[in-house]
């Protein structure tokens, strides 16, 4: 399996007033192409910080991050945004969608940013929205969709531009258990069908149970790793 993400000695320290907060303390991690991995751990364990660093949203205090063969440790703001657009899809916990755009327009947004023609965007996005069960809801605005439906639109937006990896930070945190499991199953299906690599953070045991690889974090360290056989 080809390695997609590598972090070496990754550390991130924040300054809060006069106190240094060590969010990550030397994390070494490799994620292979096509993996469906979860970063698990309690609040403050460093899951979001690790995702932000891999996603070029933040800069490490020390260490190196390589994504899709490129060292992204110290990219400038515009270069980082361009890299994210090309290689990384994001699904956030909340406020994922632009409220003034329809479900379809939100889903095609990254393609639009990449300059893909309208007809091509429609050809790509329409079957994906059908696939995630949102056929017929394309013209609805986010406030006309349920939380689960909004997250599915976010997932479509994340995978529509065929990124190298989709990073999802607590994607089910605002959803009920049934909807959470449904969203995870959908992501898992997309992983199987399209080979999309997913790396998501969660502290929900139900969600963790769906992952094929679980990396456990605590106090900024990787404290364990599991590859449940049943998910193979």
């Amino acid at each position: 399996m080809k390695t997609l993400i590598t972090t070496v000695g990754l550390a991130r320290t924040y300054r809060q007033g006069s106190v240094d907060v060590h969010a990550l303390r030397g994390v070494d991690l490799e994620v292979g192409e096509g993996e469906f991995s979860a970063l698990a751990g309690p609040s403050g364990s460093g899951k979001t910080t690790l995702l932000n660093l891999i996603g070029c949203l933040d800069t490490p205090t020390s260490g190196i991050v390589t994504v899709a063969g490129r060292d992204v440790t110290r990219l400038g703001k515009n270069a980082a945004a361009a890299f994210r657009l090309e290689h990384i899809g994001f699904v956030f916990q909340a406020y994922n969608l632009v409220p003034v755009l329809t479900a379809f327009e939100n889903a095609e947004f990254t393609l639009m940013l990449k300059g893909v023609a309208a007809a091509e965007r429609r050809r790509i996005v329409t079957p994906l929205l059908e696939r995630v069960g949102l056929g017929g809801l394309e013209q609805r605005r986010p406030h006309e969709l349920s939380g689960g439906q909004q997250q599915r639109v976010a997932v479509v937006r994340a995978i529509a531009s065929t990124p190298s990896i989709v990073l999802a930070d607590e994607p089910t945190a605002n959803l009920d258990t049934e909807t959470s499991v449904g969203l995870l199953d959908l992501m898992l299906d997309l992983n199987r069908e399209h080979g999309v690599t997913f790396l998501f953070s969660t502290h929900d045991p139900t969600v963790i149970g769906r992952a094929r690889r679980i990396v456990r974090l605590d106090s900024g360290h990787i404290v364990g790793e599991e590859r449940p056989d049943s998910k193979g």
Binding site: N78, A82, R84, L85, F92, V98, V100, L101
Partner: protein
Amino acid sequence: MGILAWRNLWRNRGRTLIVVSAIALSLGLMLVSYGMTLDRNVKMMQAAVRSAGGNVLVHADGYWDARTSDLQMPGGDAIADRVAAIPGVSGVIRRVIISGLLTSTHGGEGAQIMGVDLEGEAQVYDFRPRLVTGQFFTADDETPLVLGDGLAELLDVEVGDRVVLTATGPDGEVARALFHVTGTLHTGVSMIDDSLGLTTVGAARAALAMDTHLTQIGVLLTDDDRRDEVDRAIAAALDDLPAQVEVLTWDEAIPDLLGFVEIDEKFAVVYTVVIGLVVAFGIANTLLMMVMERIRELGMLNAIGMGPRRVAILVLLETVLLAVVAVTVGFALGFAGHLALVHWGLDLSKLSGGEMDIAGVSMNDTIIRSQFDALRWGAATGVVVLVILASSLYPAWRAMRLDPVEAMRTYE
């Protein structure tokens, strides 16, 4: 991106409508104000030319300050003929003006008797429609006098009565002359109606035993903007006269009026700057609010690949759309106001109790309308657009500087 910017603009419909209304009303009022100011200034210039008696005036030296009847130009008709031949002069008006005491059987009043040619006077002011009673001059009456109705009332005379004018002639001697009241007129300007009497040039000359004297030659020009040039040409042409003459442009004769117009122009600039500042702060505040309340969303957009430059472009695009809407509405309002004023006008005399007097010049046309000046309107609109765009630079810069992680943490 355009669709997103347009919808973002109307995300808070009430706020956007208030801002658009504020800009549009400001621009509309500014344009209407420009149109009215231009029309009023043109009317004031016309009134000044009328009040002075021409674009350029020729008198005996010192007359304009003294205004006494002894200062007359001998050989006035020949001087007028020479002036009429100068390039840029479209006509000359000959006047004999006598300041003196007019006496009736009921008493005396100070008066200004003007010997005029009614046809010639009509080129600056037509007295004929102002006749209230009686008639103007007839061939069989050698001493006709048409009095302002106020003066007639003060003297308690009516058509057919006789009055006596007492004044100093060019020889320094006091002379008396009898006139017949043939009519009364009403100009609506009390200062004139209470002091003016009109007669023929010949009768006025005869009253002070003058032959071809004139007090004033009102010179009319083909183009008022050339008045200084023609003024110099007249002065040069009359340089060889035995008695010195003074040649004044209307703005030299009535300097206060030009000063008023210049102050008015400067006030218009101050008004534009104030409006510009109000618009700038209003827009900057609104756009900043539009950015600050979307920090998390803008952070999310940045995170999914819409880089800082594009985020800034989005904010600028929203501003451009806001400017287009506001300026279009504002221009339409301004143009509608302009058309309404052209059609109905605004009668300033109703605000000022019937008469308008600016810098000593009586406005005979007190209905202010509007005049379209494409250059000024275009410049004002352009300035407003620039102000709107400039006021968006700081909000756009703030949006561009957003750190996506910090932004998404906001309001979490």
